[in-house]
Symmetry: C2
Subunit: 221 residues, 2 copies
């Protein structure tokens, strides 16, 4: 249970009733990220809604108790999402957020664009790009599958990067997201790359994140 | 804690982040309904989403532990609802459903039209009509306020009526909803009104419920 003082452990949840990605990642002060746990839980569409939500509730609660993350990150949703699954996804997200809140840890919300910008440098990156970058960032032997696992990991990494180094409080502006994607490809030497300290030194990834953040305007439901 | 064998205790939740109505009602085999508990919980819109959902989770969990209902009923939502609050309402509903599932009780979902049809005889009844009928059905001295309290009570009553008498299993067709609204106005003598047993004897309330049920087609998210 003891972790180095400079390590922040992050729970990331990519919500869904059929496939819910749940990841735990450690991020240190030098922005090195390490896989702790990842799994995808869910139930077939024909299952009753109460049993589907219970399944997610139990899985998130179990992983919280087992790995004791310091913070959680869950996908932020928008009402203009008109996919048929949006309400089920919102309910799954609500259950995951409440489980983290019950465990007493702060919960951050990030849009898919923010997460993609953080790990790939592009807010409109495809699923394969996200999976490739997550594999490199975490120095995994094989890409995490299915995509829901990679998305949950990306969410945890993005939240961890956001909350370390330049600004240690989650919830600050996009300025503290640093050059995440650029260093992901050379993760073992990441610690030696000096962190940018002025706005003019922002990397493409930082600018992408900042743009994604500004476009959402910190809206809350 | 001991209740007569013919009494079913129902939790009804009208979900919402700002105002979440939570009601507990006892319904006996003669369809008499009695108030056990009702409250409205919530948080101001500026509160963080995790604390808003936690508030609902804690309230529903506390009421489940305190009053030990046999079943729960939560509002069924549809994706074509485009109000700005729909996602927050879905998340609140998800948290309430998961809390009931954790407590091991079955959860029924009903649309507002089904509930209005059950307690007033009209699927498109207004909030005041629902409040008036709930006040009469439960023989209350004053109408429950705010409307969220009345809506949660109506949901619990409708679910209890649906699951008693003609068919004792929740989840059957609308045929087991009986002449709920008509007897509500004379609740003390309700037990003496013979229950209809053939389709041809359906009351206006039964027909309204059946139409509402058919229009939703038992869809699940």
């Amino acid at each position: 249970m003891t972790r180095p003082a400079d390590v922040v452990r992050i729970l990331g949840v990519d919500p869904g009733l059929t496939r819910c990605g749940i990841a735990v990642v450690d991020v240190d002060a030098r922005r090195r990220a390490a896989l702790v746990h990842v799994e995808v839980v869910g139930t077939p569409p024909g299952t009753s809604l109460d049993q589907r939500l219970l399944r997610i509730d139990e899985a998130v609660t179990r992983i919280l108790a087992c790995h004791r993350p310091d913070r959680a990150a869950v996908e932020r949703m928008f009402a203009n999402n008109n996919t048929p699954t949006v309400l089920g996804t919102a309910q799954a997200a609500g259950v995951a957020i409440a489980a983290a809140a019950r465990a007493g840890i702060p919960v951050g919300l990030h849009t898919p664009s923010e997460v993609k910008a953080a790990v790939t440098g592009h807010g409109d990156a495809g699923k394969e790009q996200v999976t490739t970058m997550v594999t490199r960032i975490l120095r995994l032997d094989a890409p995490p599958r299915p995509a829901d696992a990679a998305d949950a990991l990306a969410l945890a990494i993005a939240h961890g990067w956001r909350g370390t180094a330049l600004g240690h409080a989650a919830g600050q502006t996009g300025m503290d997201t640093a050059d995440m994607a650029s260093r992901a490809g050379r993760s073992h030497s990441a610690a030696r790359v000096p962190l940018p300290t002025r706005a003019g030194e922002m990397t493409a990834a930082q600018r992408a994140w900042l743009a994604a953040e500004r476009s959402t305007g910190g809206r809350r439901r």
